[in-house]
Amino acid sequence: MLRLWRKIRTVGRVAEPAPLPPATDQPPAAAALAGSVQIRHVDAGSCNGCEVEIGSAFGPVYDGERYGARLVASPRHADALLVTGVVTRNMAEPLRRTFEAVPAPKLVVAVGDCARNCGVFAGAYGVAGAVGDIVPVDLEIAGCPPRPEAIVDGLRKLTGR
């Protein structure tokens, strides 16, 4: 226990200073959330590269939570869906159901190039389309995978902080 305390002390603060807030192009639905956005992540067919960077964005260094965004366990608790990957034929219906399960007002964020426009997987026989083809998308975050800074930037557009 003492060793852990010493480790905590020597490491100190890990979070890097917050960058400037993003240019204000907040999606209209996000205004009602007023600084608190609960997020449900949905992997609709990603190669799990985006997951690595979402993990980084919520890690201690970028600390996405400090802007009022938090990952939650149930879509019922969520305000926004963070969808990664192309939507496969097997995940289209689960994605729709997840969207359906979120209480209004709700937002969908397409994370990564696959989610935006199918990326390199366009045309594969198991792909049903990009996220926008299945559920309405409010915000896109580009990159393959997007850098954590870009993800945090997107989150801040939602929380407005």
Partner: protein, 493 residues
Amino acid sequence: MITTITAGELPEHATSLLEKGFRLALAAGHDDAGPDAGGLRAVYLFIAAAPDRRVELHVPLDRDHPEVPSLARLSFPAGRFEREMRDLFGIVPTDHPLPQRLVRHFHWPQGWYPMLAAAGEPPQFGDVDGPYPFRTVEGPGVYEIPVGPVHAGMIGPGHFRFSVVGETILNLKARLWFVHRGLEKLFQGRRPEAAIELAERVSGDTTVGHTLAFCLAVEDAHQVTVPPAAQRIRAILLELERLYNHITDIGALCNDVAYGVLNAQAQRVREQLLRINDRVTGHRLLRGAIHPGGARVAALPGPAELAAIGTDVGELVGLALSNTVVTDRFTGTAVLTAAQATDLGTVGVVARASGLTIDARHDHPFMSAQFPRPEHTRTDGDVLSRFLVRAEEMATSIAMITSLADMVGDRLTATAPITSGGGRSGVGIVEGWRGMITHRIETAPDGTLTRVKIVDPSFFNWPALPVALADTIVPDFPLTNKSFNLSYAGNDL
């Protein structure tokens, strides 16, 4: 060594190879439709270690009645490869003990085999909520927990169906292939260098592993010898990938027993490693550095920063294990015995944690420089073993990177030209951070790819998860699952 045999001879050949200590690394259907309008073909790749041996059995099949005798009773993985072949090519394994669909879910149209050259546009898909053949556990009060494909945590899409009484897991069925995109078919018709972007995205966290296996297969097909400097750079990248993923898992395992502070510390270390990746290759996930014939990096990690990370990791692991609750939760949880690990054909971290000495870096090396196999302090097949194997591998990796970087010096680019011409096949085997990755490619005479078969280690390790979960309680499942940490994308393709 490639042997073409008839379907009838297959069991006999397979038996003799397995008895000689070979294991089945890959089995795949092939559609030889083309100018010379061949039939279908099943390819079985058997490999053995020390010395590295690879034997391919090719079984030409009649397009109208494509049938192979099932090897499921000889080798567990064979049974799954056969079901995959049946779903994608319509090749029927006769006398298969569990002839259910594997890759194609219920709502995929019957009789449409997407990997066939003449598959065409997919017909109408059915209703997703169809029956799912799955063993019902009989008994009073048994209920089922359906979890997924959308999970509460940040986990890939898979559906788990637990048959449970209270907290006791009686049976677990994992349903995968939710992220089946049809990746292998996307490779077809591309030139190898144009297919790299796909290989890098087979499983996003295993960019180097899959890209390297793909490049090795291409180089094998073209019989290209890669310069030693490129081999070493590739090995450094492979170990860098191992490092950031292992520390993620170490942190996540702590997080799953609610020891969040260590997860935060581990994520801090991981961010350092991702930034090193970024400096080395220009991409945090190490993309764009490996290409057929060679490798190219912008910088190499410094020995001092690696040593610091090594000390840091050692400290974190020590802190985790000095917490009695953490060790209590890890110890004896979800044991996979060595016999089970062998029978199921597991590979990588999972296999080594169960006491198997299997490591493609030593069994099927791509590099002339050799390092000693690491000794593992605990190989009981429980969560603690899998935790420790990861921790110990990190130390080995750091030592390897330091000495390889020393050998590479400042030669950051090395490439051998790929001579065109082809009509051949090649195999690449790499020990990715999860375990052995196998790619097998075939090229057309013009050098374009005609077939790429990818085998992620997760394909071998997924069936071990339910086996290890016998006698485990429900709340220990997430911990167990994390200790295996298998790829959905790599398995489902």
